[in-house]
């Protein structure tokens, strides 16, 4: 389906938030112009479309920018509402639960694992890994409740909360490669482990997940810049 002619996405290949939006667009079968931005050397278009945060992703639809990945995903779901599948759950209570956990992922899980990537000392890294594991333990419980025995958080098909968490998975593999740490494992979080497998194989999301090598490269660059 065409993106109604005028749809651009400013992004960074390895940003989980960008990947999240790309997964949503892919699910809807929407075409768009993808513009890779150098976040270490911010371009004019980025500064103009997201002057508040100067961050990606930014979706530009008919010249109007939309920022914040979760807000973008909801926007995409609303604008291309006719295109199956629906991303947000239909039931208001399930939507509230999905939004709660999506906020939890961004507020608690993300700072923990990115903190591990950026950690200056072994102690700090261990602390951040431990926080990541604690958050994932919560999400394991959430999965049990939300999925109701089905394949995904969203039920039979990938939904909002699947995207919210799933976009982080390639970074968990990156952390495994860089630090030899297993964040989602069959022993501690069996439900998430089998969900991650299924999510990784889902057609709509597969193509937008970057190679772990690229993420490792980016992580090393970040560490060079920010870790002293």
């Amino acid at each position: 389906m065409a993106g109604e002619g005028d749809l651009k996405l400013l992004g960074l290949l390895v940003s989980p938030f960008v990947v999240r939006v790309r997964m949503a667009l892919s699910m809807k079968g929407v075409s768009y112009e993808y513009i890779e931005v150098d976040v270490f050397n911010k371009s004019e278009i980025l500064l103009k479309s997201n002057p508040v945060h100067e961050k990606v992703p930014v979706l530009i639809h008919h010249g109007k920018p939309i920022c914040e990945s979760l807000a973008i995903v909801e926007y995409v779901d609303e604008v291309w509402g006719g295109a199956a599948p629906s991303i947000l759950p239909a039931d208001p209570y399930e939507r509230a639960i999905a939004r709660f956990w999506a906020a939890y992922i961004d507020d608690k899980l993300f700072p923990a694992w990115i903190g591990a990537v950026k950690a200056a000392t072994e102690e700090e890294k261990a602390e951040k890994v431990s926080q990541t594991l604690a958050a994932l333990a919560r999400l394991e419980e959430a999965f049990a409740k939300c999925s109701n025995g089905k394949a995904f958080f969203g039920g039979d098909t990938v939904g909002y909360l699947d995207l919210a968490l799933g976009c982080n998975l390639f970074w968990f593999e990156t952390l495994r490669e860089m630090f030899d740490v297993e964040l989602i494992d069959e022993g501690r979080t069996p439900l998430l482990a089998s969900w991650a497998q299924r999510f990784g194989e889902a057609a709509a999301v597969k193509d937008v997940v970057p190679n772990v090598d690229k993420a490792v490269e980016h992580a090393k660059k970040m560490r060079r810049m920010f870790v002293h």
Binding site: I66, E68, E74, Y75, E78, R138
Partner: protein
């Protein structure tokens, strides 16, 4: 109407609880209000919200949910024929969600930090930063009566509490963030007339006024009361069997620093979550008097407290303050 069993678990001084009540009242939904003592959280709250253990919690037909901004959207969706809270247009909705997140992530902490600041050069910088945040937020207001347009909408509900809290913070910290006033000499003379005008308009809305805690109740709560003592005259009160609490911003250099001092002084400490709920960063540090209430090394405790005092140059009626209470 789907009104069976609507309950709000809340605390009167929480701005996040106020958001939920505002939304319900705009929709004309009747609800049961269950008061929570945040210093002594009920089993009910922990059952309804085991993840963050915070208020507000909305329970509808027995089903609990948390996170005030999420709850407001839920209310708008369930009672969709009532007062419209979210904008109708998807682009406007995306903007509203973006700004709500901006307010909670950036404006809230910037404003809070002014509240806990001490007079001095450092404070003027904090005031300026809070103003910059509000100026940015103001972009969503330009040319309109409310963030929602002609009437109160989602973003007004999300940040409406600023209209009550910011003037109180200005008074207690002797600063002018939004309102130009004669509170102190060491502030910038910038003001935010658009925001101030919005404060006046929003407080004129009945539902908003009914749900925000009244100023005369809120002001004394934010001020230290008789149990709270200025650090300056404090350390003589530290004695065996007393519990010392220090209000600090979690993650702030002060909190990290106090913890380090405690470890060095060999004082037992426990960090407790407290405060306003939502994405609050308020926490309290409790220095216990040793296991089973055994005598604390008074010198150690006063060293910690004295060091904190030195670091923060406290003044009367301003955080960080130290509360002293007898151990239970």
């Amino acid at each position: 109407m789907a009104e069976e069993g609507v309950k709000v678990v809340g605390m009167w001084a929480s701005p996040f609880v106020a958001r939920v009540e505002m939304a319900l009242r705009l929709k004309g939904v009747t609800y049961e209000y269950l008061r929570e003592d945040l210093a002594n959280k009920s089993e009910m709250l922990l059952r309804y919200n085991p993840v963050t253990k915070k208020v507000p919690v909305l329970v509808h037909g027995g089903k609990p949910m948390a996170e005030s901004a999420v709850i407001v959207e839920y209310i708008d969706e369930v009672w969709k024929d009532g007062y419209p809270i979210m904008p109708a247009d998807p682009y406007e909705r995306a903007q509203a969600r973006f700004w709500a997140r901006y307010a909670d992530e950036k404006c809230n902490p910037a404003i809070y930090v002014v509240y806990t600041s001490a007079i001095g050069e450092g404070q003027a910088k904090l005031v300026h930063e809070a103003q910059e945040c509000l100026k940015t937020l103001q972009k969503a207001l330009e040319g309109k009566k409310f963030f929602g347009g002609d009437a109160v909408g989602y973003l007004d509900i999300v940040v409406g509490w600023y209209a009550r809290w910011v003037p109180i913070i200005e008074e207690l910290s002797a600063t002018s963030i939004v309102t130009l006033g004669g509170f102190s000499t060491s502030v910038t003379d910038q003001e935010l007339p658009m925001i101030k005008a919005w404060f006046d308009r929003i407080l004129a809305i009945d539902v908003v006024r009914e749900t925000l805690p009244p100023r005369d109740k809120l002001l004394p709560l934010c001020k230290p009361d008789s149990d709270w003592v200025n650090l300056g005259g404090f350390w003589s009160l530290v004695a065996v069997g007393w519990i010392v609490s220090v209000m600090a911003c979690v993650g702030s250099s002060n909190a990290v620093w106090v913890t380090a001092m405690m470890t060095w002084a060999g004082v037992h400490g426990v960090v407790l979550d407290g405060g306003w709920g939502g994405r609050s960063r308020v926490s309290s540090l409790s220095l216990t008097t040793g296991e089973g209430g055994t005598p604390l090394d008074v010198r150690a405790a006063t060293l910690v407290v004295g060091a904190v005092a030195h670091r923060r140059r406290p003044r009367l009626e301003c955080c960080p303050v130290v509360a002293v209470a007898r151990a239970a």
